[in-house]
């Protein structure tokens, strides 16, 4: 098994036939809605989610009664039952839930698109609402069963050593990554700087009016070596809702549809919650690799076809690592790709995270990244890539993950 892992031999004998993949082009994202992003929303998550859903329904030009499905994050503190009782949605024929924190972001679209392709629902809301800045922050020691969804044995073997927060968990494998590929803090800083440049064009971004330089990045407060302040996402209060509808229905609605070419999930063996330290190599993200392989297979696209990408960036090293895992560059070359910022900024070879993403716009567990990918297809981003045909979004890392590819 380890040998196979090292070779990362993708399962070739038993994959479903490509022509059986019904999700392709069956559904589209037709509505996006969000609250403001802030450090203290002053209201409940349920209320913010209702606001975001209402905004998304209006954006799509739908009636609330037309919503017939919901997909939620397992980690979300709100549920479809109370949301429907507030919004007056009389009937659902589909509801589902996706696990693994930010890994669920594109999973919600996988579920919605599959349900639509199977003909059980027509308009499905995927949402996330969190008071992560003013409420329960993820930087704290996990004490709730919802975070410790895994068998407890493993946390028992790391928490007693004080190794108990997401930045710490990621720092452990990020250190290995920087070490193995001789990358420096300056190299890493370019990721945060480019995201900030994009956020400076986006009035909805938390850091809209705060420019950032490489110098500031490398001098910023160290959170956990090698992660400094600007290598970490911005804790946010807010909610985002995304509406997925059948391709047929999408044509009749207000917005230009962002068709879902492919939506895939991936996990890899020897996985743990952001602490997959027992693999032979820990400087990669095999879940992302698997997700990408499947995405390219079912869509028939290749990385160079992609015009704009929103990579999940809870921490800055995850962007160069994903550039490698999704096949935009060779193993170990992700940092080169980001250095200087030219290839990943607007106008570059692969403009990345054009809203400012988690590092500078808001941290909404990947759902704000999906909204930005949709804006790129619609042509309404504040950092618009010209003639964006294919728009990629990826889900949370260090955990089972997911990705979607949208097209014009």
């Amino acid at each position: 098994m380890f040998d196979e892992y090292l070779a990362r031999r993708y399962r070739t004998t038993t994959r479903p036939k490509k022509e059986h993949y019904l999700v392709k082009d069956s559904a589209a994202i037709v509505g996006i809605g969000a609250t403001e992003f802030s450090k203290d929303s002053g209201r409940s998550e349920l209320q913010m989610v209702c606001e975001a859903v209402k905004a998304a329904v209006d954006d799509a030009g739908l009636q609330m009664e037309e919503i017939d499905g919901f997909v939620r994050f397992e980690m979300d503190y709100t549920d479809e039952m109370h949301i429907c009782s507030s919004l007056g949605i009389p009937k659902l024929t589909y509801f589902a839930e996706c696990g693994w924190g930010g890994g669920a972001s594109c999973s919600t679209i996988v579920h919605a698109a599959a349900a639509i392709a199977a003909g059980v629902a027509e308009c499905i809301v995927c949402y996330r609402g969190m008071n992560e800045a003013s409420g329960r922050r993820y930087g704290r020691i996990p004490g709730t069963p919802s975070i410790m969804t895994a068998p407890r044995d493993h946390f028992g073997s790391i928490l007693p050593f004080g190794h108990c927060t997401p930045p710490g968990w990621v720092a452990m494998f990020a250190s290995r990554y920087l070490h193995e590929f001789d990358a420096t803090a300056e190299d890493l800083a370019w990721v945060s700087v480019v995201c900030r440049e994009h956020a400076n064009r986006n009035p909805n971004a938390i850091f809209y009016d705060r420019p950032l330089t490489v110098q500031e990045c490398v001098e910023a407060r160290m959170i956990i070596e090698p992660l400094r302040l600007y290598d970490c996402c911005v804790d946010t209060d807010g909610a985002v809702a995304i509406i997925v509808a059948s391709a047929e229905k999408a044509k009749k609605l207000k917005q230009k549809p962002a068709y879902i070419v492919g939506a895939t999930q991936g996990n890899a063996t020897e996985g743990e919650l952001m602490t997959s330290y027992y693999r032979p190599v820990i400087s990669g993200l095999p879940e992302a690799w698997y997700t990408g392989q499947e995405l390219w297979r079912v869509t028939g696209a290749i990385p160079s076809d992609v015009n704009v990408a929103q990579f999940y960036d809870a921490f800055s090293p995850l962007i160069p690592m994903q550039l490698e895992e999704y096949g935009f560059c060779d193993r170990g070359k992700g940092m080169d790709f980001c250095r200087g910022g030219d290839r990943i900024r607007l106008g570059g070879e692969l403009p990345c995270n054009t809203s400012g993403s988690h590092l500078s716009e808001a941290y909404l567990h990947g759902m704000n990244l999906i909204a930005e990918a949709v804006r790129q297809i619609r042509g309404t981003s504040t950092a618009q890539v010209k003639n964006a045909e294919l728009s990629l979004v990826t889900g949370g890392l260090g955990i089972p993950t997911s990705a979607i590819l949208l097209r014009n």
């Binding site: 999700v23 709100t78 549920d79 039952m81 509801f95 589902a96 599959a114 068998p151």
Partner: protein
């Protein structure tokens, strides 16, 4: 491209059941892997070929950990659902939609020996999580001592008694028939022999009008079910059980077991909505169903489901169950021939296992010539259901 319907697009090809007990003595991780291994062997599917996993959020280890235990490289599809057996729907979408080939739906829960010893303890433990809406307004109920599912259901059931005139002597037939059926099922550990109406009437009123015998007891167990497409099923070991239809249902002003603010609190609008969809997709009706696997977590939901699913008219259910003849094996509509959750313990996927056995003709309490079985779950909350049939 999309398909019009999921009718007949998936099949159950294997089941694995780890013997139930009240103290299983192994971890949930262990028994989850064990059940999947059994199910894969029964189906004739290589474990390495399993590429999808679905489950209920609360029951058992996550697919990543289960996959790791089984040595599965990577999964193309994984999903966790909250309500009843609604994970089944995702499994059907995944195999019908070409997202994966062999999807395993597993449920592992050690509720009898685990940290959640009794129903009320379990709820109190959950209630102390302040981070979740959790579908029940604990803040409005708990200060008054309305705590625990038997109490939540009792509040509704008192009203049901008032509105329908159902008597304990009628409802009692649900647990009586369950005990008869359970006594024939080796996996049902709670009854060695059938109880009588006197036994029922003497059963403790734990949350009056709910008796101890109205509640499914806690149990340790683990079940796995392998789902694939009917085409792929042909090459496998077992006669496939075709999934004719799956559906979920939902209604306004809902709260888990406690939808007390609706105008009428004594029907199951979620179940009614689900049934409409289930019959529409599958092109069947209540008359086509030979065996009904109903949610009997709490006995009053059985007569309510008989009405909501169209097996009898509104207000007819109390008479339908009285005496047990209509719901026994050999009766008009055998209900839960495996003893249900009252006989086997609180374990939702037992219904799917028994549906498969009835279609295959291998139940310990076989109904003759069963070609269609309906499975319903989620009474008192968001509902889901499945109709499966012989190929």
């Amino acid at each position: 491209m999309a398909i019009d319907s999921i009718k007949d697009k998936a099949a159950i090809v294997g089941i694995g059941v780890v013997d139930f007990s009240t103290d299983i003595g192994r971890t949930e991780w262990y028994t989850a892997c064990q059940a999947i291994k059994l199910a894969a062997e029964e189906a004739g599917v290589n474990i390495d070929d399993i590429d999808g996993m679905v489950k209920s959020v609360d029951d058992g280890p996550d697919p990543t950990y289960t996959g790791k235990g089984l040595g599965i490289d990577n999964l193309l599809y994984h999903s966790e659902n909250h309500w009843g057996t609604s994970a089944m729907m995702n499994a059907v979408h995944a195999v019908a939609g070409g997202l994966c080939n062999y999807c395993v739906y597993y449920q592992t829960a050690h509720r009898a020996s685990g940290p959640e010893k009794c129903i009320s303890d379990f709820l109190v433990a959950r209630e102390f999580r302040d981070d979740s809406l959790d579908m029940v307004r604990y803040d409005y109920f708990s200060p008054f001592g309305l705590i625990g599912e038997p109490g939540y259901v009792a509040m509704m059931y008192r009203r049901y008694m008032h509105e329908t005139g159902i008597k304990p002597e009628q409802l009692g037939w649900v647990p009586i028939v369950a005990s008869e059926n359970a006594a024939r099922n080796t996996n049902a550990i709670f009854f060695d022999k059938s109880i009588t109406i006197d036994d029922y009437m003497q059963s403790k009123l734990i949350a009056d009008p709910i008796r101890e015998l109205d509640c499914a007891p806690k149990v340790d167990g683990s079940i796995a079910i392998v789902i694939t497409t009917p085409e792929r099923a042909k090459a496998l070991k077992q006669e496939p059980v075709i999934i004719n239809s799956v559906a979920s249902g939902y209604a306004l002003e809902g709260q888990n077991y406690t939808s007390y603010t609706r105008d009428v609190i004594t029907d199951l609008p979620e179940m009614e909505n689900m049934a409409k969809e289930l019959y529409r997709v599958g092109g069947m009706g209540p008359k086509d169903i030979k065996v009904a696997m109903l949610d009997d977590t709490f006995a009053p939901y059985v007569p309510m489901q008989l009405e909501a699913l169209g097996f009898c008219g509104k207000g007819e259910a109390p008479a339908f169950i009285e005496g047990g003849d209509k719901i026994r094996v050999g009766g008009q509509l055998p209900v839960n021939p495996d003893g249900g959750e009252i006989g086997q313990g609180r374990f939702i996927t037992t219904r799917i296992v028994e549906a498969v056995r009835q279609i295959r003709g291998t139940s310990t309490n076989q109904v003759a010539n069963t070609d269609t079985v309906l499975v319903a779950s989620g009474a008192g909350g968001p509902a889901d259901g499945m109709i499966c049939r012989k190929e």
